[in-house]
Amino acid sequence: MRSAISTAFTRLDFYTGLVTILVGAIGLLDIAYGSWRPGPGLGPHAFPQLAYITLIIAGLAIWVDVIRGKSDEHPENLRAILITGVGLVAIGMGMFWLIGKLGLIVSVAATLIGSSFLLTRDPLRHWPSTIVVPIIATAVIWLLFVQLINIPLPRGLLF
């Protein structure tokens, strides 16, 4: 038992538990000292308060699991996944912004061709899948969203 406690700090879930407890604690402090207006029937803070308390209890339960020796492994490829995540969000926003500037066809085609070039080794040799397929996909997307659904495209709304 003693050894489980001393090694607890090396375990991944010690930290996930810590973050869980911290989120709950900060939330409770916000409810105690933040600007929450009172409201009818328990008030608007009742449910968030319950959720914060649950978070703290769950965080403590994660720690109990750690002491018992139950913890998930450190994740693999953490950096690659996080970079991809941030990259996708950036590309997504970029595409949306471009749609307002250049129009849907150009932006979507550029995004699709660009990302298949990124993901394919020697993209020019694989031109049917890195250029032709994205162009067909763009045509289908244009038909669906512009001709059929007629979405109100943002015009420079984002920035």
């Binding site: 649950t54 978070l55 769950a58 965080g59 994740p75 996944i81 926003m93 699709l112």
Partner: protein, 506 residues
């Protein structure tokens, strides 16, 4: 008189034109439903003006076809990419995607199709023959009863946690917090908006759900594709196949009758829960799917396989989701109360055709409503046949190399989410929910409880606070209804018996 109307209805419903519109509707529904973010509801909203131009039976046929197709279509992307196409298919993604990863997407897709059609058809018969009695039961559900139902459904979290109860509970709490963002539905004051005025309306279900489940999954798959490419550059000797399709053995991936029969219990659990929950105004198809999934696991002979590609899990979720489709119209037909977004759209369609939803509907427009009933039933058969034909095609698409397919699915998810609410904020929410989902996945937090918390919290909060307002602040008011007491008792018994069962297993 009745018989005469019925014969007229037969003529209306089975005219070649109407059958064609139903088929077009099913095709559009399945295809649009498969695109993350787009759902049958949205397609119905866009095509609503069609009622000005078509005969009522043809227009209703088209809308019905879209609705039913969309109900099932969502499960195609849920199973193929782990990306639920519609809110209702979020629970389907849990086991369906695992099944695909194990190499049998076709089995999972067919299970989803059969359970969807069984659930849907049963629900339609309930609508036709039991609408009034069920609607009267639904009216007895007030805030007190709804709170008991929501509390009961939160109990099923443990079924969604894959053995990580502490992390699952933390996720449910996080889901509740996300649902609290925006204007307080009772008092009207803003909360948890972090000073961003655009968050005043709260987070919409579709971007949160597609973001947490789908975008995070896409990011992880893209990361894999990216690393694969890096590795390939080093290992240049291996030539990759020119064909667009990866290696996949279709002959081993056929649903056998024995396997189908093994999912029947789960299908009927889903059908029953879906039909009942669908009839309650405001409860919704995604809640029905999650409750069905949780209960099916409780009553399954192989509960350990849930979360690991269980066909029963797919069947329960999909039957629960689809079985709301007929019964969600019950409050509309019985009392003119639209119980869901879909019912509201059908209500609008009736109004635009000059028919007032409510009890007088069936007397005033007997032939059209009888024809609609017939269409509701045979649209399921068209859905079954057409989807049978489309599934092999769609599962081939799903097998296209991920480096080509993933960017397209991402773009579709972004545009689809935008189109669902015409909202730029939804796109932001989608992308950030995707990042949140990635972080949570990396640290092994189960995502399904978060969605359950997010779906249940608004209703639970409203119901609790309404109950206390009506009961003048007395908490005992929550125990004033026999239905609520019954639900609490069932919950207590379930906790009790399953703790004992779990103990004995160990």
């Amino acid at each position: 008189m009745m018989l005469e109307a019925f014969v007229d209805a037969l003529h209306l419903a089975f005219s070649p034109e109407v059958i064609l519109y139903v088929a077009i509707g099913v095709f559009m529904g399945v295809t649009l439903g498969a695109i993350p973010g787009l759902s049958g509801d949205m397609a119905i909203a866009i095509l609503l003006p069609i009622v000005f131009f078509l005969e009522p039976a043809a227009a209703l046929g088209l809308l019905t076809g879209i609705y039913k197709g969309g109900m099932f279509g969502g499960s195609i992307s849920a199973i193929s990419f782990g990306v639920p196409g519609t809110p209702g298919s979020a629970a389907t993604a849990i086991d369906g995607y695992q099944a695909k990863l194990k190499g049998y997407p076709n089995k999972a897709l067919n299970t989803a199709l059969y359970s969807s059609v069984i659930g849907d058809t049963t629900s339609d018969f309930v609508l036709i023959f039991l609408a009034l009695p069920l609607a009267i039961v639904a009216l007895t559900f007030g805030p007190v009863e709804f709170f008991a139902l929501y509390a009961f459904s939160l109990l099923l979290i443990s079924a969604l946690t894959k053995g990580k109860v502490a992390k699952g509970v933390a996720m449910a709490a996080l889901g509740i917090l996300l649902a609290m963002i925006g204007r307080d539905p009772i008092g009207g004051s803003l909360r948890l908006t972090f000073g961003i005025p655009e968050l005043a309306g709260g987070l919409a279900l579709i971007p949160v759900l597609v973001g947490i489940f789908a975008v995070s999954e896409l990011i992880i798959q893209l990361a894999k594709a990216w690393m694969e490419r890096a590795r390939r550059i080093v290992d240049d000797t291996k030539q990759q196949a020119q064909s667009l399709l990866g290696d996949y053995d279709a002959s081993k991936d056929k649903l056998s009758f024995a396997e189908f029969r093994a999912t029947m219990r789960a299908t009927w659990i889903g059908t029953t829960m879906g039909t009942l929950i669908g009839a309650l105004p405001g409860a919704g198809s995604s809640l029905a799917a999650f409750i069905s999934y949780g209960l099916a696991q409780r009553f399954s002979r192989k509960p350990d396989e849930f979360g690991k590609g269980s066909l029963e899990g797919v069947a329960a979720a999909e039957a629960g989701n689809s079985a709301t489709s007929g019964s969600t119209l019950i409050p509309l037909f019985a009392f003119g109360i639209p119980g869901s977004a879909t019912a509201a759209l059908f209500g609008a369609a009736f109004i635009l055709m000059g028919m007032t939803p409510g009890p007088s509907l069936i007397n005033d427009h007997t032939e059209v409503i009888y024809a609609l009933f017939l269409i509701l039933i045979y649209a399921n058969i068209i859905n079954l046949g057409l989807s049978h034909f489309l599934l092999p095609l769609y599962s081939k698409i799903a097998m296209i190399k991920s480096r080509i397919l993933l960017p397209i699915v991402c773009v579709l998810a972004i545009l689809g989410t935008f189109a669902a609410g015409n909202s730029v904020i939804d796109v932001w929410v989608l992308l950030f929910a995707g990042l949140l989902g990635v972080v949570l996945r990396i640290y092994n937090f189960p995502l399904a409880p978060l969605i359950l918390g997010f779906i249940v919290a608004p209703g639970a909060e409203r119901a609790l606070r309404q109950s206390l307002l009506i009961g003048r602040g007395e908490w005992t008011h929550l125990l004033s209804s026999p239905i609520a007491l019954g639900l609490y008792a069932v919950a207590a018994i379930m906790i009790f018996t399953f703790t004992i069962v779990m103990r004995e297993r160990k």
